[in-house]
Protein backbone atom coordinates (compact mmCIF):
# COMPACT_ATOMS: atom_id res chain seq x y z
CA UNK A 1 0.00 0.00 0.00
CA UNK A 2 1.36 3.48 -0.79
CA UNK A 3 2.52 5.47 2.22
CA UNK A 4 3.36 9.14 2.61
CA UNK A 5 6.18 9.57 5.13
CA UNK A 6 4.36 12.50 6.64
CA UNK A 7 0.65 11.66 6.32
CA UNK A 8 0.53 7.89 6.40
CA UNK A 9 -1.19 5.19 4.36
CA UNK A 10 -3.03 6.02 1.15
CA UNK A 11 -6.05 3.84 0.41
CA UNK A 12 -7.53 3.44 -2.11
CA UNK A 13 -4.08 3.64 -3.67
CA UNK A 14 -3.28 6.84 -5.52
CA UNK A 15 0.00 7.97 -7.08
CA UNK A 16 0.14 10.94 -4.70
CA UNK A 17 -0.61 11.79 -1.07
CA UNK A 18 -4.17 13.17 -0.86
CA UNK A 19 -3.12 15.43 2.00
CA UNK A 20 0.05 17.13 0.73
CA UNK A 21 0.19 16.09 -2.93
CA UNK A 22 3.63 14.50 -2.61
CA UNK A 23 4.56 12.02 -5.35
CA UNK A 24 5.71 9.44 -6.02
CA UNK A 25 4.93 7.43 -2.90
CA UNK A 26 6.72 4.34 -1.71
CA UNK A 27 4.73 1.08 -1.37
CA UNK A 28 5.12 -0.54 2.07
CA UNK A 29 3.87 -3.82 3.47
CA UNK A 30 1.10 -4.04 6.08
CA UNK A 31 0.96 -6.60 8.88
CA UNK A 32 -1.99 -8.40 7.28
CA UNK A 33 -3.95 -8.19 10.53
CA UNK A 34 -7.19 -6.35 11.19
CA UNK A 35 -10.61 -6.46 12.79
CA UNK A 36 -14.14 -6.67 11.39
CA UNK A 37 -15.65 -3.17 11.23
CA UNK A 38 -18.93 -4.10 9.56
CA UNK A 39 -20.48 -6.84 7.42
CA UNK A 40 -23.47 -8.02 5.46
CA UNK A 41 -24.44 -11.47 4.23
CA UNK A 42 -25.31 -11.30 0.55
CA UNK A 43 -28.23 -13.48 -0.48
CA UNK A 44 -28.04 -12.28 -4.08
CA UNK A 45 -25.06 -13.35 -6.18
CA UNK A 46 -22.69 -10.72 -7.50
CA UNK A 47 -20.62 -11.17 -10.63
CA UNK A 48 -18.51 -14.32 -10.27
CA UNK A 49 -20.28 -15.33 -7.04
CA UNK A 50 -23.15 -17.32 -8.58
CA UNK A 51 -22.21 -20.50 -6.69
CA UNK A 52 -21.35 -18.86 -3.37
CA UNK A 53 -24.69 -17.54 -2.03
CA UNK A 54 -24.94 -16.71 0.79
CA UNK A 55 -21.56 -15.11 1.46
CA UNK A 56 -20.02 -12.43 3.63
CA UNK A 57 -18.97 -9.01 2.43
CA UNK A 58 -17.00 -7.34 5.18
CA UNK A 59 -15.24 -4.10 5.98
CA UNK A 60 -11.94 -4.66 7.78
CA UNK A 61 -10.11 -2.05 9.80
CA UNK A 62 -6.50 -3.01 9.17
CA UNK A 63 -4.18 -2.87 12.17
CA UNK A 64 -2.42 0.06 10.48
CA UNK A 65 -5.68 1.98 10.00
CA UNK A 66 -6.84 1.88 6.36
CA UNK A 67 -10.23 0.27 5.86
CA UNK A 68 -10.66 -2.43 3.20
CA UNK A 69 -13.58 -4.40 1.78
CA UNK A 70 -13.33 -8.15 1.26
CA UNK A 71 -15.04 -11.47 1.81
CA UNK A 72 -14.73 -13.42 5.03
CA UNK A 73 -13.98 -17.16 4.83
CA UNK A 74 -13.33 -19.87 7.41
CA UNK A 75 -16.53 -19.46 9.46
CA UNK A 76 -20.13 -20.62 8.86
CA UNK A 77 -22.07 -18.01 6.90
CA UNK A 78 -24.42 -16.92 9.69
CA UNK A 79 -24.80 -13.59 11.53
CA UNK A 80 -23.76 -15.35 14.75
CA UNK A 81 -20.33 -16.28 13.33
CA UNK A 82 -19.12 -12.71 13.23
CA UNK A 83 -18.77 -10.00 15.82
CA UNK A 84 -17.76 -6.40 15.29
CA UNK A 85 -14.12 -6.20 16.36
CA UNK A 86 -13.36 -9.86 15.56
CA UNK A 87 -9.65 -10.27 14.66
CA UNK A 88 -8.96 -11.39 11.10
CA UNK A 89 -5.92 -11.87 8.87
CA UNK A 90 -5.40 -11.47 5.18
CA UNK A 91 -4.81 -14.20 2.62
CA UNK A 92 -4.71 -13.88 -1.13
CA UNK A 93 -7.05 -15.35 -3.70
CA UNK A 94 -5.57 -15.91 -7.15
CA UNK A 95 -8.13 -14.81 -9.72
CA UNK A 96 -6.64 -15.65 -13.10
CA UNK A 97 -3.32 -14.13 -12.13
CA UNK A 98 -4.68 -11.20 -10.12
CA UNK A 99 -4.06 -11.61 -6.39
CA UNK A 100 -7.02 -10.31 -4.43
CA UNK A 101 -6.84 -9.70 -0.64
CA UNK A 102 -9.34 -11.79 1.34
CA UNK A 103 -9.93 -12.34 5.06
CA UNK A 104 -10.21 -15.22 7.54
CA UNK A 105 -10.25 -15.45 11.33
CA UNK A 106 -6.80 -15.33 12.92
CA UNK A 107 -5.59 -18.92 13.20
CA UNK A 108 -7.74 -20.23 10.35
CA UNK A 109 -5.87 -21.94 7.52
CA UNK A 110 -8.65 -21.68 4.93
CA UNK A 111 -7.48 -20.83 1.40
CA UNK A 112 -9.12 -20.32 -2.00
Amino acid sequence: MPKCEEHGWVFPPRPHCPTCGKRPLEWKQLSGRGTIASFIISHRPGMGYQDEVPYFIVIVDTAEGPRMVGNLYGVPVTPESVTIGMPVEVFFENREGVHVPQWRPVGSTVTL
Binding site: P12, G46, I59, I84
Partner: protein, 389 residues
Amino acid sequence: MASGWIDGDSVKQEEIVIVGASESAEIGIVPDVSAMGLAIDSALRALDDAGLTPADVDGVAGTMHPAELALQLGTRPRYADGTNVGGCSYMLHVRHAVAALRTGMASVVVIMHGESGRSRVGVPAMSMDMTAAPGQFERIYGVAGTFSMFTLPVMAYLHKYGLDETALAEVSVAQSRWAAQQPRALRQKVLTVDDVLNSSMISWPFRVLECCPLTDGGGSLVLTTASRAADMDLKYAPVVVAGTGSLVEGAGSSFMEDLTSFRAFRESSAEAFRSADMNVNDIDHLMVYDAYAHLPLYGLEDLGFVGKGEATEFIKSGATSPGGSLPMNTNGGGIMYTHTGMYGMFALQEAVRQMRGTSPAQVDGVRTSFVQGVGGMFAAAGAVVLRQP
Protein backbone atom coordinates in the same frame (compact mmCIF):
# COMPACT_ATOMS: atom_id res chain seq x y z
CA MET B 1 -15.79 27.87 7.07
CA ALA B 2 -17.00 29.66 3.94
CA SER B 3 -20.76 29.99 3.76
CA GLY B 4 -20.89 28.78 0.20
CA TRP B 5 -23.16 31.64 -0.82
CA ILE B 6 -22.13 34.28 -3.29
CA ASP B 7 -21.34 37.42 -1.34
CA GLY B 8 -23.01 40.74 -1.99
CA ASP B 9 -26.29 41.98 -0.58
CA SER B 10 -27.90 42.52 -3.97
CA VAL B 11 -27.36 38.86 -4.78
CA LYS B 12 -28.62 37.60 -1.44
CA GLN B 13 -31.75 39.73 -1.36
CA GLU B 14 -33.65 38.20 -4.23
CA GLU B 15 -35.84 35.32 -3.08
CA ILE B 16 -35.83 32.26 -5.31
CA VAL B 17 -39.09 30.35 -5.51
CA ILE B 18 -40.45 27.09 -6.86
CA VAL B 19 -43.40 27.93 -9.10
CA GLY B 20 -43.81 24.56 -10.79
CA ALA B 21 -43.54 21.00 -9.49
CA SER B 22 -44.90 17.82 -10.92
CA GLU B 23 -44.25 14.14 -11.29
CA SER B 24 -44.93 12.34 -14.55
CA ALA B 25 -48.55 11.26 -15.11
CA GLU B 26 -47.56 7.70 -14.36
CA ILE B 27 -44.92 6.41 -11.96
CA GLY B 28 -44.11 2.92 -10.74
CA ILE B 29 -44.19 0.42 -13.57
CA VAL B 30 -44.38 2.33 -16.86
CA PRO B 31 -43.26 -0.02 -19.64
CA ASP B 32 -44.31 2.21 -22.55
CA VAL B 33 -42.56 5.52 -21.80
CA SER B 34 -38.84 6.18 -22.12
CA ALA B 35 -36.73 7.81 -19.43
CA MET B 36 -36.65 11.00 -21.52
CA GLY B 37 -40.39 10.80 -22.10
CA LEU B 38 -41.00 10.64 -18.36
CA ALA B 39 -38.74 13.66 -17.78
CA ILE B 40 -40.40 15.78 -20.46
CA ASP B 41 -43.93 14.82 -19.40
CA SER B 42 -43.19 15.98 -15.86
CA ALA B 43 -41.49 19.17 -17.12
CA LEU B 44 -44.49 20.21 -19.21
CA ARG B 45 -46.79 19.58 -16.24
CA ALA B 46 -44.53 21.58 -13.92
CA LEU B 47 -44.40 24.49 -16.40
CA ASP B 48 -48.19 24.39 -16.62
CA ASP B 49 -48.34 25.09 -12.85
CA ALA B 50 -46.88 28.52 -13.64
CA GLY B 51 -48.64 29.16 -16.93
CA LEU B 52 -45.31 28.79 -18.74
CA THR B 53 -44.26 27.03 -21.94
CA PRO B 54 -40.85 25.69 -23.05
CA ALA B 55 -40.28 29.04 -24.80
CA ASP B 56 -40.08 30.72 -21.38
CA VAL B 57 -37.30 28.42 -20.17
CA ASP B 58 -33.71 29.68 -20.35
CA GLY B 59 -32.14 27.26 -17.88
CA VAL B 60 -32.18 23.46 -17.75
CA ALA B 61 -30.73 21.03 -15.26
CA GLY B 62 -30.77 17.28 -14.89
CA THR B 63 -28.67 14.16 -14.63
CA MET B 64 -29.44 13.35 -18.25
CA HIS B 65 -27.42 15.24 -20.85
CA PRO B 66 -28.59 18.88 -20.56
CA ALA B 67 -28.33 19.43 -24.33
CA GLU B 68 -30.61 16.48 -24.98
CA LEU B 69 -33.02 17.62 -22.25
CA ALA B 70 -33.06 21.11 -23.82
CA LEU B 71 -33.69 19.77 -27.31
CA GLN B 72 -36.46 17.43 -26.19
CA LEU B 73 -38.14 20.11 -24.10
CA GLY B 74 -37.77 22.71 -26.83
CA THR B 75 -35.45 25.43 -25.59
CA ARG B 76 -31.96 26.82 -26.21
CA PRO B 77 -30.96 27.56 -22.63
CA ARG B 78 -28.40 30.13 -21.47
CA TYR B 79 -27.85 28.04 -18.37
CA ALA B 80 -27.21 24.27 -18.26
CA ASP B 81 -26.33 22.10 -15.26
CA GLY B 82 -25.54 18.42 -15.75
CA THR B 83 -24.23 17.76 -12.25
CA ASN B 84 -24.48 14.07 -11.46
CA VAL B 85 -23.43 12.93 -8.00
CA GLY B 86 -26.20 10.32 -7.77
CA GLY B 87 -29.69 10.56 -6.37
CA CYS B 88 -29.18 13.85 -4.53
CA SER B 89 -28.14 15.61 -7.74
CA TYR B 90 -31.51 17.37 -7.86
CA MET B 91 -30.82 19.03 -4.51
CA LEU B 92 -27.56 20.30 -6.00
CA HIS B 93 -29.43 21.42 -9.12
CA VAL B 94 -31.74 23.48 -6.89
CA ARG B 95 -28.72 24.93 -5.09
CA HIS B 96 -27.01 25.84 -8.36
CA ALA B 97 -30.22 27.25 -9.86
CA VAL B 98 -30.60 29.58 -6.87
CA ALA B 99 -27.15 31.00 -7.59
CA ALA B 100 -27.84 31.22 -11.32
CA LEU B 101 -31.16 32.99 -10.85
CA ARG B 102 -29.72 35.41 -8.31
CA THR B 103 -26.87 36.35 -10.61
CA GLY B 104 -28.98 36.68 -13.73
CA MET B 105 -27.52 33.68 -15.53
CA ALA B 106 -31.08 32.49 -16.04
CA SER B 107 -34.61 33.66 -15.34
CA VAL B 108 -36.56 30.40 -15.46
CA VAL B 109 -34.80 27.11 -14.64
CA VAL B 110 -36.38 23.70 -15.13
CA ILE B 111 -34.84 20.79 -13.21
CA MET B 112 -35.81 17.50 -14.81
CA HIS B 113 -35.66 13.87 -13.77
CA GLY B 114 -36.70 10.86 -15.81
CA GLU B 115 -35.62 7.32 -15.22
CA SER B 116 -36.83 4.01 -16.54
CA GLY B 117 -35.14 2.15 -13.73
CA ARG B 118 -37.41 -0.85 -13.84
CA SER B 119 -38.57 -1.15 -17.45
CA ARG B 120 -35.29 0.14 -18.94
CA VAL B 121 -36.97 1.94 -21.83
CA GLY B 122 -34.66 4.25 -23.75
CA VAL B 123 -31.67 3.75 -21.49
CA PRO B 124 -28.34 2.03 -22.09
CA ALA B 125 -27.72 -1.38 -20.49
CA MET B 126 -26.59 -1.12 -16.88
CA SER B 127 -22.91 -1.54 -16.34
CA MET B 128 -20.62 -1.26 -13.36
CA ASP B 129 -17.50 0.82 -13.76
CA MET B 130 -14.83 -1.61 -12.59
CA THR B 131 -11.96 0.82 -13.12
CA ALA B 132 -12.90 3.49 -10.55
CA ALA B 133 -12.03 3.01 -6.88
CA PRO B 134 -15.32 1.32 -5.88
CA GLY B 135 -14.98 -1.05 -8.84
CA GLN B 136 -11.46 -2.09 -7.92
CA PHE B 137 -11.80 -2.23 -4.16
CA GLU B 138 -15.48 -2.90 -3.35
CA ARG B 139 -17.44 -4.37 -6.26
CA ILE B 140 -14.98 -7.18 -7.02
CA TYR B 141 -16.09 -8.84 -3.77
CA GLY B 142 -19.44 -10.02 -5.08
CA VAL B 143 -21.35 -6.77 -4.86
CA ALA B 144 -24.54 -7.62 -6.73
CA GLY B 145 -26.13 -4.20 -6.43
CA THR B 146 -26.52 -1.22 -4.16
CA PHE B 147 -28.24 -3.54 -1.65
CA SER B 148 -24.93 -5.28 -0.95
CA MET B 149 -22.74 -2.16 -0.67
CA PHE B 150 -24.84 0.84 0.43
CA THR B 151 -25.97 -1.38 3.32
CA LEU B 152 -22.49 -2.47 4.38
CA PRO B 153 -21.73 0.08 7.13
CA VAL B 154 -24.93 -0.57 9.08
CA MET B 155 -23.63 -3.29 11.40
CA ALA B 156 -20.98 -0.87 12.69
CA TYR B 157 -23.82 1.55 13.48
CA LEU B 158 -26.11 -1.01 15.12
CA HIS B 159 -23.23 -2.46 17.15
CA LYS B 160 -22.10 0.96 18.38
CA TYR B 161 -25.52 1.75 19.84
CA GLY B 162 -26.46 -1.75 21.03
CA LEU B 163 -29.28 -2.03 18.46
CA ASP B 164 -30.41 -5.03 16.46
CA GLU B 165 -32.03 -5.66 13.10
CA THR B 166 -35.47 -4.57 14.33
CA ALA B 167 -34.15 -0.97 14.18
CA LEU B 168 -34.31 -1.17 10.39
CA ALA B 169 -37.77 -2.75 10.44
CA GLU B 170 -39.12 0.16 12.53
CA VAL B 171 -38.19 2.56 9.73
CA SER B 172 -40.23 0.63 7.17
CA VAL B 173 -43.14 0.23 9.60
CA ALA B 174 -43.34 3.99 10.25
CA GLN B 175 -43.11 4.87 6.57
CA SER B 176 -45.72 2.29 5.58
CA ARG B 177 -48.26 4.29 7.61
CA TRP B 178 -47.69 7.24 5.28
CA ALA B 179 -47.60 5.10 2.15
CA ALA B 180 -51.03 3.74 3.01
CA GLN B 181 -52.35 7.27 2.40
CA GLN B 182 -50.56 7.65 -0.93
CA PRO B 183 -52.50 6.20 -3.90
CA ARG B 184 -49.42 6.45 -6.14
CA ALA B 185 -47.16 4.51 -3.77
CA LEU B 186 -45.91 1.18 -5.12
CA ARG B 187 -46.17 -0.44 -1.67
CA GLN B 188 -49.33 0.69 0.18
CA LYS B 189 -49.77 -1.92 2.89
CA VAL B 190 -49.45 -0.94 6.55
CA LEU B 191 -46.66 -3.15 7.89
CA THR B 192 -45.73 -4.60 11.27
CA VAL B 193 -42.19 -5.33 12.44
CA ASP B 194 -42.90 -9.03 11.89
CA ASP B 195 -44.11 -8.39 8.32
CA VAL B 196 -40.82 -6.70 7.58
CA LEU B 197 -38.60 -9.23 9.34
CA ASN B 198 -40.41 -12.10 7.63
CA SER B 199 -40.01 -10.64 4.14
CA SER B 200 -37.33 -12.22 1.98
CA MET B 201 -33.68 -11.74 2.90
CA ILE B 202 -31.69 -9.65 0.44
CA SER B 203 -28.52 -8.72 2.23
CA TRP B 204 -28.55 -9.57 5.91
CA PRO B 205 -29.67 -7.67 7.98
CA PHE B 206 -31.74 -6.09 5.17
CA ARG B 207 -35.03 -7.67 4.08
CA VAL B 208 -36.76 -6.78 0.84
CA LEU B 209 -39.19 -4.46 2.67
CA GLU B 210 -36.21 -2.45 3.91
CA CYS B 211 -34.88 -1.96 0.38
CA CYS B 212 -36.16 0.39 -2.31
CA PRO B 213 -37.97 -1.19 -5.22
CA LEU B 214 -36.75 -0.24 -8.70
CA THR B 215 -39.35 1.79 -10.57
CA ASP B 216 -39.97 4.13 -13.51
CA GLY B 217 -40.92 7.78 -13.18
CA GLY B 218 -40.26 11.43 -13.85
CA GLY B 219 -40.38 14.64 -11.89
CA SER B 220 -39.56 18.29 -12.54
CA LEU B 221 -39.28 21.59 -10.72
CA VAL B 222 -39.53 25.11 -12.13
CA LEU B 223 -37.60 27.83 -10.31
CA THR B 224 -37.57 31.56 -10.82
CA THR B 225 -37.10 34.80 -8.87
CA ALA B 226 -39.84 36.05 -6.55
CA SER B 227 -40.21 39.23 -8.62
CA ARG B 228 -40.66 37.27 -11.84
CA ALA B 229 -43.08 34.90 -10.07
CA ALA B 230 -45.22 37.87 -9.04
CA ASP B 231 -46.05 38.41 -12.71
CA MET B 232 -46.94 34.77 -13.37
CA ASP B 233 -50.33 33.13 -13.35
CA LEU B 234 -49.58 30.55 -10.67
CA LYS B 235 -51.79 27.59 -9.80
CA TYR B 236 -50.22 27.35 -6.34
CA ALA B 237 -48.55 29.81 -4.02
CA PRO B 238 -44.80 29.87 -4.67
CA VAL B 239 -42.52 27.91 -2.32
CA VAL B 240 -39.37 29.71 -1.21
CA VAL B 241 -35.99 28.00 -1.39
CA ALA B 242 -34.78 29.21 2.00
CA GLY B 243 -31.40 27.51 2.08
CA THR B 244 -29.27 24.77 0.54
CA GLY B 245 -26.11 22.81 1.23
CA SER B 246 -24.01 20.09 -0.36
CA LEU B 247 -20.90 18.02 0.19
CA VAL B 248 -19.17 15.37 -1.87
CA GLU B 249 -17.61 12.93 0.57
CA GLY B 250 -16.04 10.11 -1.38
CA ALA B 251 -16.45 7.24 -3.74
CA GLY B 252 -18.42 4.68 -1.77
CA SER B 253 -19.59 3.38 1.56
CA SER B 254 -16.33 1.79 2.69
CA PHE B 255 -14.55 5.09 2.06
CA MET B 256 -16.72 6.97 4.58
CA GLU B 257 -14.77 8.82 7.22
CA ASP B 258 -16.96 7.25 9.93
CA LEU B 259 -19.13 4.16 9.28
CA THR B 260 -21.67 5.25 11.91
CA SER B 261 -22.26 8.85 10.82
CA PHE B 262 -22.28 10.40 7.34
CA ARG B 263 -20.13 13.51 7.14
CA ALA B 264 -21.85 14.72 3.96
CA PHE B 265 -25.23 14.57 5.76
CA ARG B 266 -23.77 16.56 8.65
CA GLU B 267 -22.10 19.26 6.59
CA SER B 268 -24.67 19.71 3.84
CA SER B 269 -27.50 19.97 6.37
CA ALA B 270 -25.54 22.38 8.58
CA GLU B 271 -24.95 24.64 5.59
CA ALA B 272 -28.60 24.43 4.55
CA PHE B 273 -29.75 25.37 8.07
CA ARG B 274 -27.21 28.20 8.25
CA SER B 275 -28.11 29.66 4.87
CA ALA B 276 -31.83 29.44 5.74
CA ASP B 277 -31.16 31.03 9.13
CA MET B 278 -33.07 28.15 10.75
CA ASN B 279 -32.41 25.25 13.08
CA VAL B 280 -34.09 21.89 13.71
CA ASN B 281 -36.77 23.52 15.86
CA ASP B 282 -37.98 25.52 12.86
CA ILE B 283 -38.70 22.44 10.73
CA ASP B 284 -42.29 21.15 10.37
CA HIS B 285 -41.70 18.40 7.82
CA LEU B 286 -38.72 16.26 6.88
CA MET B 287 -37.72 14.15 3.93
CA VAL B 288 -34.62 11.93 4.28
CA TYR B 289 -33.62 10.03 1.17
CA ASP B 290 -34.15 6.35 2.00
CA ALA B 291 -32.85 3.99 -0.61
CA TYR B 292 -32.42 1.63 2.36
CA ALA B 293 -33.87 1.65 5.85
CA HIS B 294 -30.69 2.72 7.64
CA LEU B 295 -30.57 6.12 5.93
CA PRO B 296 -33.34 7.77 7.98
CA LEU B 297 -31.51 6.61 11.14
CA TYR B 298 -28.27 8.24 10.02
CA GLY B 299 -30.22 11.25 8.71
CA LEU B 300 -32.18 12.02 11.89
CA GLU B 301 -28.94 11.91 13.89
CA ASP B 302 -26.60 13.63 11.44
CA LEU B 303 -29.06 16.47 10.80
CA GLY B 304 -29.36 16.99 14.55
CA PHE B 305 -33.04 16.15 15.06
CA VAL B 306 -32.08 13.53 17.67
CA GLY B 307 -28.89 12.58 19.51
CA LYS B 308 -26.49 9.88 18.32
CA GLY B 309 -28.02 6.43 18.61
CA GLU B 310 -31.49 7.80 19.39
CA ALA B 311 -33.13 7.64 15.96
CA THR B 312 -34.62 4.15 16.37
CA GLU B 313 -36.40 5.00 19.62
CA PHE B 314 -37.62 8.25 18.08
CA ILE B 315 -39.13 6.45 15.08
CA LYS B 316 -40.51 3.64 17.24
CA SER B 317 -42.25 6.24 19.44
CA GLY B 318 -44.33 7.34 16.47
CA ALA B 319 -42.70 10.77 16.26
CA THR B 320 -42.16 10.46 12.51
CA SER B 321 -45.48 8.68 11.81
CA PRO B 322 -48.84 10.33 11.04
CA GLY B 323 -49.78 12.52 14.02
CA GLY B 324 -46.18 12.66 15.27
CA SER B 325 -44.08 15.72 16.06
CA LEU B 326 -41.78 15.35 13.05
CA PRO B 327 -43.59 13.92 10.02
CA MET B 328 -40.87 12.24 7.94
CA ASN B 329 -40.94 10.69 4.48
CA THR B 330 -44.65 11.35 4.13
CA ASN B 331 -44.83 9.85 0.64
CA GLY B 332 -43.75 6.55 2.22
CA GLY B 333 -40.16 7.22 1.20
CA GLY B 334 -38.17 5.67 -1.58
CA ILE B 335 -38.77 2.28 0.02
CA MET B 336 -42.57 2.48 -0.26
CA TYR B 337 -43.43 5.23 -2.75
CA THR B 338 -41.14 4.88 -5.73
CA HIS B 339 -37.42 4.64 -6.41
CA THR B 340 -36.39 5.10 -10.01
CA GLY B 341 -32.69 4.90 -9.20
CA MET B 342 -32.08 8.57 -8.42
CA TYR B 343 -34.92 9.21 -5.99
CA GLY B 344 -34.03 12.75 -4.85
CA MET B 345 -36.52 14.43 -7.16
CA PHE B 346 -39.41 12.53 -5.55
CA ALA B 347 -38.38 13.64 -2.06
CA LEU B 348 -38.43 17.24 -3.33
CA GLN B 349 -41.83 16.70 -5.00
CA GLU B 350 -43.42 15.48 -1.76
CA ALA B 351 -41.92 18.40 0.16
CA VAL B 352 -43.44 20.85 -2.34
CA ARG B 353 -46.80 19.06 -2.12
CA GLN B 354 -46.73 19.40 1.66
CA MET B 355 -45.92 23.11 1.34
CA ARG B 356 -48.75 23.56 -1.15
CA GLY B 357 -51.18 21.54 0.96
CA THR B 358 -51.78 19.04 -1.84
CA SER B 359 -50.22 15.81 -0.55
CA PRO B 360 -52.60 12.86 -0.25
CA ALA B 361 -51.01 12.41 3.19
CA GLN B 362 -51.20 16.11 4.00
CA VAL B 363 -49.87 17.31 7.34
CA ASP B 364 -51.65 20.34 8.79
CA GLY B 365 -49.89 23.70 8.70
CA VAL B 366 -46.54 22.86 7.14
CA ARG B 367 -44.59 26.12 7.09
CA THR B 368 -41.15 24.63 6.47
CA SER B 369 -39.75 21.45 4.99
CA PHE B 370 -36.22 20.07 5.10
CA VAL B 371 -35.20 17.75 2.26
CA GLN B 372 -32.02 15.73 2.70
CA GLY B 373 -30.61 13.76 -0.22
CA VAL B 374 -27.83 11.24 -0.52
CA GLY B 375 -25.91 10.48 -3.70
CA GLY B 376 -24.09 7.36 -4.72
CA MET B 377 -23.53 5.03 -1.80
CA PHE B 378 -22.72 7.47 1.01
CA ALA B 379 -20.75 9.40 -1.63
CA ALA B 380 -22.43 12.81 -1.66
CA ALA B 381 -25.28 14.71 -0.05
CA GLY B 382 -27.44 17.70 -0.84
CA ALA B 383 -29.96 19.50 1.35
CA VAL B 384 -32.74 21.97 0.54
CA VAL B 385 -34.84 23.95 3.02
CA LEU B 386 -38.25 25.14 1.83
CA ARG B 387 -40.55 27.67 3.48
CA GLN B 388 -43.76 29.51 2.83
CA PRO B 389 -43.38 33.01 1.30
